[in-house]
């Protein structure tokens, strides 16, 4: 992008007599690209940057939802947050659910992509169907999975009883609720990631596979030594995207909760995510603690920034290792 926009001004430089036309042309070449991309940035300022700044301001006040005359309390909300065990519990839950949903999800996606990349019959049909979960309403997904994982009359428990496992109260346990939620997330996102991997796989030159085959590598070795290294950048991309998505997990656990009043994420807050905790403080019941919820929002923002930074460092390291 930057190379292309720089081009006209370079070619225009040798011309001695600069007329108005060419001056305008120069201006046009120089600033038009900014104009063209400005809608995004204007929208981003209105709906991204401004709320971010406003939330930062609210987080420094004791504002409640129904009382719009808050007083400034400095960093009190943040100091309270640091000592709030429920906040850290929510962070732990979020990271836990993220870990056990993202890793299997990406592995499944890789496997699916490999299968879809082979000469299957009705290939387009299968490729289309893996993204079907993506176009399903999230609310419908959450409600149906909640029923599948219900204690007494759920299909999952019904299937498990054939192998001698009896009535797991999925929602009540910490790990079991995490697993149930991870299944929801994985079901929804594995196909999407598979499609991204598939696109990347089709960009891998055939010569690499041919060379590997001549060297005597079987399908598995080809997958490990050709496909995976070639997909490295794509894998990093999907990891970052699913990290950001995973840390903002809300709808699935919110709808998973049987007691629909507090957004507490189970009776012992066993699956309350950070966003759910924010919602609990701001909107659920009658707490309406907006200032505190804003502080949670900013803490989550910092957490995501931190994790993205770690991701970035890892990517850098891989790049330098390559070089």
């Amino acid at each position: 992008m930057s190379e292309r926009t720089a081009m006209p001004s370079v070619t225009a430089a040798p011309v001695r007599r600069i007329g108005i036309r060419s001056r305008l042309h120069k201006l046009d070449a120089r600033w038009s690209p900014y104009l063209y991309i400005s809608p995004f940035f204007l929208l981003f300022i209105a709906f991204g940057l401004f709320p971010l700044g406003y939330t930062a301001w609210v987080s420094l006040t004791d504002r409640t939802l129904l009382d719009p005359h808050p007083s400034f309390i400095g960093l009190d909300n943040y100091t309270a947050l640091i000592h709030d065990s429920y906040f850290w519990n929510a962070v732990e839950n979020t990271l836990g659910i993220w870990a056990i949903s993202t890793i299997p999800q990406l592995l499944i996606a890789l496997g699916l992509a490999t299968l879809l990349n082979t000469g299957l019959r009705a290939r387009t049909f299968f490729r289309m169907s893996v993204v079907l979960p993506q176009v399903t309403s999230l609310v419908a997904v959450a409600l149906i999975f909640t029923q599948l994982f219900s204690r007494d009359y759920g299909l999952v428990n019904y299937m498990l009883h054939f192998v001698g496992i009896h009535n797991i109260d999925w929602e009540a346990g910490r790990l079991s609720s995490w697993i149930a939620l991870s299944v929801m997330v994985t079901w929804r996102w594995a196909g999407y990631n598979a499609l991204i991997y598939l696109a990347a796989m089709q960009g891998i030159p055939d010569e690499l596979y041919e060379a590997a085959a001549i060297d005597g590598a079987g399908a598995w070795k080809q997958f490990i030594h050709v496909t995976i290294p070639q997909l490295r950048n794509t894998i990093i991309f999907t990891v970052i995207i699913s990290t950001i998505g995973g840390l903002q997990l809300f709808t699935e656990p919110y709808l998973f909760e049987p007691l629909k009043q507090g957004a507490t994420g189970g009776s012992a807050r066993q699956y309350q995510t950070v966003v759910m905790y924010l919602y609990e403080k701001a909107f659920a019941g009658t707490q309406f603690k907006f200032g505190y919820a804003a502080a949670i929002g900013w803490a989550l923002f910092l957490l995501i920034a931190l994790i993205s930074l770690v991701n970035l460092l890892i990517v850098r390291r891989i790049r330098t290792a390559e070089a």
Binding site: L65, L66, D67, P68, Y86, T146, Q147, S150, R151, D152, Y153, D169, A172, P258, L259, K260, Q261, G262, A263, T264, G266, S267, A268, F283, A284, G285, T286, Q287, F288
Partner: protein, 431 residues
């Protein structure tokens, strides 16, 4: 038709014809629509936002018939979403319906911000004050004298029980005999023990510890808040007593351990996995909706420990609405004695007006779904005996924290002592 000479090809002619037809059609239909809505005065649409079926549909039709310029639309959301959205809409100054229902667990919080609501007294409610139970009237009365809403129903208490399951467990099944079994909650828990000893496989005595606890709390005054508005959950012996009794029942395996209003709980009604449910009057409608297959198997007995209240609602008119006078008039209609009587017969929601509670029409009303139990008499008696409770702004949040605390014990995650400790901590965090 002067366009004719300029038309050159049949193709052009066709296009023009289509264009004329489309434009003409649009104009014609808009004219028709205009005359339809233009009959009489400008038509006003009043939106009513509720958190469940209040049984108002026929009443809307009736009101629209006598007020031809009014059109009524109803929005229904879940209990939690409804109140959260109302708070959001009030805060941003738009988006609320012309009429918004508020449940008693939220009324104290909303009435502490009376400036968001129309003062019903300005629309003649003051003259009607005598209609309502005095405590119902004062529950929605703000400190500055603004009446933010009018009472719909009260949730006076009874116990719904399954006659067939009681019989199978060798207990009496007639409602008078059953009521005699449990004059107190201690006795109720003892009956539970007897039930459990001979219960059909997989059936528990009550549905959820939290429901039993809520009923006991609903009979206390003070309960969560003192008269001066202080939170006294930890220091009130009545709360501690209710907790201990609930724990005793759970320990004796009398609870099915459901979270109230969950999917599993709903299915539990259909499959008969519990023999009793705490029944505020509005619960009758809920059971009939959830488990129509159990018609006639239920009956209703008196609640242990005398009268008590759980639930009940108010209709309010947010100030941001543009048809406040019309909305206030509709609220008065929907909470009129005739309307409350009609709703009671439809859904079982008990009127909040003493004259109605004493009237033969309510007192003699029997519900066939509940084995022709004289529900009017049972609930009206309980409502008139009731000691009103002081509510605080976070009553609903404390109730949620209590439900979670009881669930932790039912799910064997904590001992009663541990859970009580966390409950007190939660109460501190939400108030």
């Amino acid at each position: 038709v002067q366009i004719k000479p300029t038309i050159r090809s049949p193709r052009h002619r066709l296009r023009l014809l289509i264009a004329i037809l489309v434009v003409g059609g649009v104009v014609a239909t808009s004219l028709v629509a205009g005359t339809a809505s233009g009959s009489g005065k400008d038509k006003i649409t009043l939106r009513v936002s509720l958190f469940g079926d209040f049984g108002y549909h026929d009443l809307y039709k009736q009101y629209e018939a006598t007020h031809p310029n009014i059109d009524i639309k109803e929005d229904i959301q879940s209990y939690a979403d409804h109140h959260a959205n109302l708070a959001k809409n009030l805060a941003v100054g738009s988006g609320a319906d012309d009429i918004e229902a508020i449940e008693v667990g939220f009324i104290a919080q909303f009435k502490s911000h009376p400036n968001y609501f129309v003062d019903m007294n300005k629309y003649g409610a003051k003259k009607l004050q005598k209609r309502w139970l005095p405590w119902k009237w004062s529950q929605s009365l703000a400190r500055n004298g603004v009446q933010i809403g009018l009472g719909t129903d009260v949730g006076s208490l009874g116990i719904c029980y399954r006659r067939d399951l009681f019989k199978q467990a060798g207990l009496p099944s007639g409602r008078a005999a059953v009521s005699k079994l449990w004059p107190t909650w201690q006795k109720f828990m003892a009956v539970g023990k007897r039930f459990q000893a001979h219960a059909p496989h997989g059936v528990s005595f009550f549905d959820a510890g939290s429901n039993v606890f809520n009923a006991m709390i609903g009979q206390q005054n003070p309960a969560y808040y003192s008269r001066s508005g202080k939170v006294i959950v930890g220091s009130n012996p009545a709360v501690k007593r209710a907790w201990a009794l609930t724990m005793q029942g759970i320990k004796a395996h009398e609870s099915a351990g459901f979270a109230a209003f969950s999917n599993d709980w709903n299915t539990g009604f259909k499959n008969g996995t519990f023999a009793t449910v705490t029944c505020p009057a509005w619960m009758m409608g809920y059971i009939q909706g959830q488990a129509p297959n159990t018609a006639g198997k239920w009956d209703i007995a008196a609640v242990p420990g005398g009268g008590g209240n759980w639930g009940g609602s108010f209709l309010t008119v947010p100030k941001q609405g543009s048809h406040q006078a019309e909305a206030a008039d509709l609220v008065k209609f929907l909470t009129s004695p005739a309307a409350e009587k009609y709703v009671f017969k439809q859904t079982g929601n008990l009127p909040s007006q003493p004259a109605l509670l004493k009237s033969p029409a309510v007192k003699r009303f029997k519900n066939p779904f509940f084995n022709n139990a004289p529900v009017g008499n049972i609930f009206a008696t309980s409502a008139l005996k009731l000691k009103p409770q002081i509510l605080g702004p976070h009553h609903g949040d404390i109730q949620t924290a209590a439900s979670n605390a009881i669930q932790r014990v039912e799910q064997h995650k904590q001992t009663p002592a541990q859970s009580w400790k966390q409950f007190l901590k939660d109460v501190k965090a939400v108030t």
